[in-house]
């Protein structure tokens, strides 16, 4: 499984348009949690694995800062070694919520497109 950066950016943009600049509307937050959740609670994720996806949209410093000030600070992931992180149960809940927000966006988008096609 991989993370689609373009799609996550589109979903984040949608929620940002509602004034949700943090969390659901924050592409960095979405990507970090999505990548961490790929390995689950029992396998470490390297910072370089996260950067594979985030390099397209943000520099190393902002991602490191986001990891520290949001992800680690809120207990969504733990740093278990140099450049090594593991997602927590709470982090998995957040990742699950992100997945649901993507599904919600997909369904809203589909519905709005259908409504637009009615003559």
């Amino acid at each position: 499984m991989t993370v689609d950066v373009k799609w996550e950016g589109e979903v984040a943009e949608f929620y940002r348009s509602f004034g949700m600049n943090q969390g659901l509307g924050d592409i960095q937050y979405r990507l970090i949690l999505k990548v961490l959740s790929l390995n689950g609670v029992s396998k470490a994720t390297n910072f370089s694995d996260i950067r594979k996806y985030t390099d397209e949209i943000a520099d190393r410093g902002s991602i490191a800062s986001k990891m520290k000030t949001v992800i680690q600070f809120e207990g969504l992931a733990k740093k278990i070694g140099r450049g090594e992180y593991v997602i927590t149960e709470k982090g998995l809940l957040a990742a699950d919520f992100i997945d649901k927000s993507s599904k919600h966006y997909k369904s809203v988008k589909k519905t709005l497109e259908r409504v637009e096609r009615i003559p």
């Binding site: 519905t111 709005l112 497109e113 409504v115 096609r117 009615i118 003559p119």
Partner: protein, 254 residues
Amino acid sequence: MQPGWMLHSFVCVGVALVSFLLSIKMIGKLKRSDARYLTSVTFGFFWALFGVSYLFFGLSIASEYTSDSGITLAFFYASFASLLMMSAPLSYFIMHILLGDKRISIATSLGFAVIGLTCIIVLFTVGVDMASPDFWIPKYDLDPLLQYLFVFGLYVPSLSMILGLLPFVALRIAPKFTKYKITLSLIALSLVYDFVLLGILGISGLSRVISSLFILLGALLGYAAFFPPKIAIRVFKLEEKEFEEYVGYEGDGE
């Protein structure tokens, strides 16, 4: 020859007139550059075919009234043939709204056209029998094979597609006018298909005239769905209110 036939034929011509009016207005509703143009036109074609069918059906009853059985049968064949083809444009209309994929919509439409053409070939092969005319209608007996083909090849798939539009009615995010359009179209199409089916299955007598009146109601509702009368706009509050933005400070007026 029965006096009730003429009345029934007037009802059928009424259905045809409403269908033609709706068809013309749907075809001319949008500009060619509009992305919804083809959807609107196919819906117009559906009503045009339905109108042609009912016009010929009305003419077949009227000509039977004047005792010209040769032309009656010709009118009946023309009526039934266009009825068999009407699902093709309708399937494009519904599939395009639901999926938005032109290729799938065209393929579905072609599928219905093939079924329709098969039914027409069967119609001309097995023919139609005139049987036991009553006060209201010169009754036609259709071959059971034709009835099965119509029910399982056209009616059931068409009705399933029509029901695919049902979730729109409950949508919270759709504008009120869109919901109104879909709801009334659903009722109109259901009335049309259901009562046409009853006719094909061979109901006769007063029930047949009543079923034609319900078809007329269906055509009127189809028209009112896309071109709502003023009373419907007022009753269902279809006009969206435009609020102007307040530019003063929050404390103003306190």
